[in-house]
C-alpha cells in the first residue's frame, strides 16, 4: 500500500526556517489533518507533499520514490477553488482527462459521473461564475478526483465557505474519501472540522513550525460505517476531544 511520507522535513523561506523537522506519514485510506495557529507551516508542509515547495532538509516520498514536482497522483484542492473560468463545470472536471488525451465523449461521461458523486448533477454546462462558493468547491473536488489520485491534498478547501455550507461539505468530503479510496492530507483552521474528518490530527505550533501533538481519532470512521454526523457530534467523547484538541493548539499562548 503506497504511503505519502514527509521525513524530518524543514522548509525555509529566504533563509528563515518556517518548518523544522516535521515527519508525516499518510497511508492510503488515512485522513490526516494538520491544525495549528497561523504561521505554523501547515500550508508549507502541504506544498512540500504537493511538490510545489522543495524542502530545505529532509525528504518527501510517495510509494518510496522521492517527490520531485507536482503530479496527478497527489491532486491538490486550494482554498480559492482555482477553477478555470473559461471552461464549463464539466470541462473543469474533465481537465485532467483532457491533459491525458482521453477522447471528448469519454471524458464528458466520466466528468458527469464525478459531478454526480459530488452531488452536482445537471450543472455540467454551467459556467464557473454562475455557481455558488460551495458548488465551486465541489467542482474543485471532482476535478481533483478526475486525475485518479492516490492522495488528495486539501489546503483549507472549506475555508472560504459560510458555516452551514461548510458543515454540509464536511460530509461530502467524507463520502468522497470513502468512495474514492484515497489518502487525504488536509490543512484546516476548524477544530470541529478536524475532529469530524480526521483519522489522525497533527497539531503544529509556530516559530518555526513543529509537531506538538498527534491525536488518533475515530469519529470519521464512525461516520463511514453509517452513524449519522449529528449523533457523532452529540457524543460526550466528541466534546472531550474537542477540549483536548483546543488546549493542544493554544498551548503556551496567553489566554
Amino acid at each position: 500500500m503506497p504511503h505519502l511520507v514527509l521525513d524530518k522535513v524543514s522548509v525555509h523561506y529566504d533563509g528563515q526556517p518556517a518548518v523544522e523537522r516535521v515527519s508525516i506519514d499518510v497511508a492510503k485510506g488515512d485522513f490526516v489533518v494538520l491544525v495549528g495557529r497561523s504561521g505554523c507551516g501547515k500550508t508549507s508542509l502541504l506544498n512540500v507533499a504537493a511538490g510545489l515547495v522543495e524542502p530545505a532538509r529532509g525528504v518527501a516520498t510517495i510509494g518510496g520514490s522521492p517527490i520531485t514536482g507536482p503530479g496527478p497522483d497527489r491532486a491538490v484542492v486550494f482554498q480559492n477553488d482555482a477553477l478555470f473560468p473559461w471552461l464549463t463545470a464539466r470541462e473543469n472536471v474533465a481537465f485532467a482527462l483532457r491533459l491525458r488525451g482521453v477522447p471528448q465523449a469519454e471524458r464528458g461521461r466520466r466528468a458527469d459521473d464525478l459531478l454526480k458523486l459530488v452531488k452536482l448533477e445537471g450543472v455540467g454546462d454551467k459556467h464557473i461564475w454562475e455557481l455558488s462558493g460551495g458548488m465551486r468547491q465541489r467542482v474543485g473536488l471532482a476535478r481533483a478526483l478526475a486525475a485518479e489520485p492516490e492522495f488528495l491534498l486539501l489546503d483549507e478547501p472549506l475555508g472560504a465557505l459560510d458555516a452551514l455550507t461548510r458543515e454540509r461539505m464536511q460530509t461530502t468530503l467524507l463520502d468522497l474519501w470513502t468512495a474514492a479510496q484515497v489518502g487525504v492530507l488536509m490543512v484546516t483552521h476548524g477544530i470541529e472540522e478536524a475532529l469530524v474528518l480526521a483519522t489522525r490530527i497533527i497539531v503544529l505550533a509556530p516559530g518555526p513550525g513543529r509537531v506538538v501533538r498527534t491525536f488518533e481519532t475515530g469519529f470519521s470512521r464512525r461516520y463511514a460505517s453509517g452513524e449519522p454526523i449529528r449523533s457523532i457530534k452529540a457524543d460526550p467523547a466528541f466534546a472531550a476531544a474537542r477540549g483536548e484538541l483546543t488546549d493542544a493548539i493554544f498551548e503556551g499562548e496567553p489566554a
Partner: protein, 286 residues
C-alpha cells in the same frame, strides 16, 4: 476571557427592531438628473453649431474651414464619384486592408513575444529593451528607413503600421501573463499538466482578456499611423486621399477624410468591445 463586554452593548428591545434602519443597508438609487452621454451629445452639437456658424459668418475663409454642409456634400460626391481615381469606399477598403494585415502581423509576432516576456526571465531580458526602444519612436521617424530597406511597395506600408502595433500587443500580453494566478497554475500542474500544457491550457486563456485589450489599443495606434504609412507612394487609402487633397487645397475633402477616419476608429473600438464580451465573458467575474 472577558465575555461580559458583549453585554455592555446597547440592546435592541423586542418590537423596536423594525424602527431601526441601518443607513447603508438600502442605498438609494442614484438619481442623476443628467447622464454623461447626454452631456457628450450636447457638446458635439455645440461644436457643430459653432463650426456652422463661423463658416456661415465667414469668420474664416472656406479654404481654411469649409462649412459642415460643404463637407457633407463632398462626402456624398466622393462616395459616388470618387477622389483621385478611387471612390471613398475603395479608399476605406485599402486603408482597412493595410491596418488589418498589420494587425495580423502584430498578433503573430507580438503575442509570442509577450508570452516570452511574461513567462521566462531570458525572454524578458531579450525583448523588453527592444520593445522599450521601439515604443516611443514616432512612425514618421522610422518611415524613411523602412522605405530604404523594403522599398515603396505595400509591405512597407503594412510594416510601418505593424511596428506601431507591436508594442501594445506584446506588452499587454506580457502583463496578462504576469497576472495569472499562481494557484491556477499550481492546480493545473498537480492535475498532471506539463510546462507546455500549462502555457496552452492555463496561461494563454488566463491572459486572453488582457491580450484583447492590447489588440484594441494596437488597433487605435495602427489606425493613427495610417496617414504616415500612406505617405509612401500609395494610390489609394484614406491617408493618401487626405494628403492629395491637402496638396490641392481641397480642404473640404481633408476635413471629410478626418471625420471618416475618426468614425471608423470609433466603430472599430465598438466592435472590439463587443468581441471582448463574446470571447471572454468571465473577465472581471472571478
Amino acid at each position: 476571557m472577558s465575555v461580559t463586554s458583549y453585554n455592555e452593548r446597547p440592546t435592541i428591545k423586542a418590537g423596536e427592531t423594525d424602527t431601526i434602519s441601518v443607513p447603508w443597508s438600502r442605498p438609494r438609487p442614484k438619481r442623476s438628473w443628467i447622464s454623461s452621454r447626454a452631456v457628450s451629445a450636447v457638446t458635439i452639437l455645440v461644436v457643430l453649431a459653432a463650426w456652422a456658424l463661423s463658416a456661415r459668418l465667414q469668420l474664416v475663409s472656406p479654404v481654411f474651414l469649409p462649412s459642415p454642409a460643404a463637407v457633407w456634400t463632398k462626402f456624398i460626391v466622393v462616395a459616388r464619384d470618387g477622389f483621385v481615381d478611387a471612390t471613398l469606399l475603395q479608399h476605406i477598403v485599402a486603408s482597412l486592408g493595410r491596418v488589418f494585415a498589420a494587425l495580423v502581423a502584430a498578433i503573430v509576432i507580438g503575442v509570442p513575444v509577450g508570452l516570452a516576456i511574461g513567462i521566462s526571465t531570458v525572454g524578458r531580458g531579450i525583448f523588453d529593451p527592444l520593445l522599450e526602444f521601439l515604443r516611443p519612436i514616432p512612425p514618421l521617424a522610422y518611415l524613411p528607413l523602412v522605405i530604404i530597406w523594403f522599398g515603396i511597395g505595400e509591405p512597407s506600408k503594412i510594416l510601418v503600421i505593424a511596428i506601431a502595433m507591436l508594442a501594445p500587443v506584446a506588452l499587454s500580453t506580457a502583463s496578462g501573463v504576469r497576472g495569472v494566478s499562481q494557484e491556477r497554475i499550481n492546480a493545473a500542474r498537480s492535475l498532471g499538466a506539463t510546462r507546455v500544457q500549462v502555457v496552452r491550457h492555463v496561461i494563454v486563456p488566463s491572459a486572453l482578456p488582457s491580450i484583447l485589450t492590447g489588440l484594441r489599443i494596437a488597433l487605435g495606434a495602427g489606425w493613427s499611423t495610417l496617414v504616415a504609412a500612406e505617405l509612401v507612394a500609395a494610390t489609394r487609402g484614406l491617408g493618401f486621399m487626405i494628403q492629395s487633397a491637402a496638396q490641392f487645397l481641397v480642404t473640404d475633402v481633408v476635413v471629410m477624410g478626418i471625420l471618416v477616419i475618426a468614425t471608423i476608429a470609433f466603430v472599430l473600438e465598438f466592435i472590439i468591445r463587443r468581441i471582448e464580451r463574446q470571447l471572454v465573458p468571465w473577465a472581471g467575474k472571478d
